[in-house]
Symmetry: C2
Subunit: 216 residues, 2 copies
């Protein structure tokens, strides 16, 4: 067992190992994408994220600038929310929201027969239409987002589209990527089946740490 | 886009797709391990979990029986905690705990120079020494657990050892697996670097759903 025990030191050593393995694999990451990709791999130990993450040009920088201005982050699960670094959010004055447990969301879902994840997007549109939206779980959230963006009711500062799964997930990510490109909305997406709440949180953290370097 | 929208239906279709792909890969899962492996893949879309999960004989069944008796679940992160299905816990009378935000843990970590994850294990030993312990993040939690088990202060109903990472992670999982085998403590572990809070929660849920089938 190696002697790294301080969390900051462990993280630096982890990033060094990841970088070395990427280099061995012949992967050269553009500086803008580097921190996001490294942190997605760091949180999964899955090097597929070096290949499956896509960025519209300037997407990471748009996210960093938004967070520097205190734009809030909205997530589709409480799990993703709880993985987003609180200290970094406090330093930047960034609020974090998830509406999955909001009673109005449950009520709307029951009344309309939609998923709660989709109903939650209507709360996003009502309360934080220009937030950074991080979706790690629900393809129905991405599809409702696409509808709301088409209707001009949502104008995200950045879309993080990384739901995981086997049904409708691939298609929902392709649809939101197409729409974001059409509407010139910055997006970072994990194409294919992979993703998840930890990946959504890791991407938020990569942007937060670049917006406000950590005291480690 | 296919027409699956009800959450229960999406999940059944997902499990069917995963099962079919495992069959194509020539992977035959023993019935006891099947639900845990399927749900780890379901939460990551990563078929490596068909290979990297190991179980001591009877480990999944030991977890199911413990949960049926209302044994609590303790996790090393609030993220894992929030991924564990609350409705299933309520049906079984299973309480969930995470001590990472406990002020006593922060104080002990500061006084002793240990990680908070390791200090939290001392709270587990004091308050729930016979719980189901799910570790998705911190190798130092596994190593402290090993010390406390050696000292006879912890006797887990089940250890779920699935931290993710690049430093000390592989070694900590090998150490806790060795010790659990020696002490005849049931363990489910993700060998190698992979794992994470979502995987820890998924394994807990696989056991919870078998202990108390869901009304879907």
């Amino acid at each position: 067992m190696t002697a790294h025990t301080a969390p900051g030191e462990i993280e630096r050593e982890s990033m060094r190992i990841i970088s070395a393995q990427l280099e061995e694999m012949g992967v050269a990451l553009p500086p803008e994408c580097r921190e996001v990709v490294l942190r997605a791999i760091h949180t999964t130990a899955d090097f597929d994220y070096a290949q499956n993450l896509v960025f519209t040009p300037g997407a990471a920088e748009a996210g960093i600038q938004a967070l520097k201005q205190g734009v809030p982050i909205v997530t589709d699960t409480n799990m993703a929310l709880s993985g987003i670094n609180q200290a970094a959010c406090r330093r930047l004055g960034v609020e974090r929201y998830c509406y999955m447990a909001d009673p109005r969301v449950a009520q709307q879902a029951a009344e309309t027969g939609s998923t709660r994840a989709a109903a939650a997007v209507d709360r996003w549109a009502a309360e934080h239409p220009e937030a950074v939206f991080a979706v790690g779980n629900a393809p129905t959230a991405l599809l409702r987002m696409a509808e709301r963006m088409e209707a001009g009711e949502l104008r995200p500062a950045l879309v993080i589209a990384v739901p995981v799964g086997f049904v409708n997930v691939v298609e929902s990510k392709e649809e939101i990527l197409r729409l974001c490109r059409e509407k010139n909305v910055p997006i970072i997406a994990a194409m294919g089946r992979k993703g998840g709440s930890t990946v959504a949180a890791a991407i938020c953290n990569a942007l937060l740490y670049q917006a406000s370097p950590r005291p480690i």
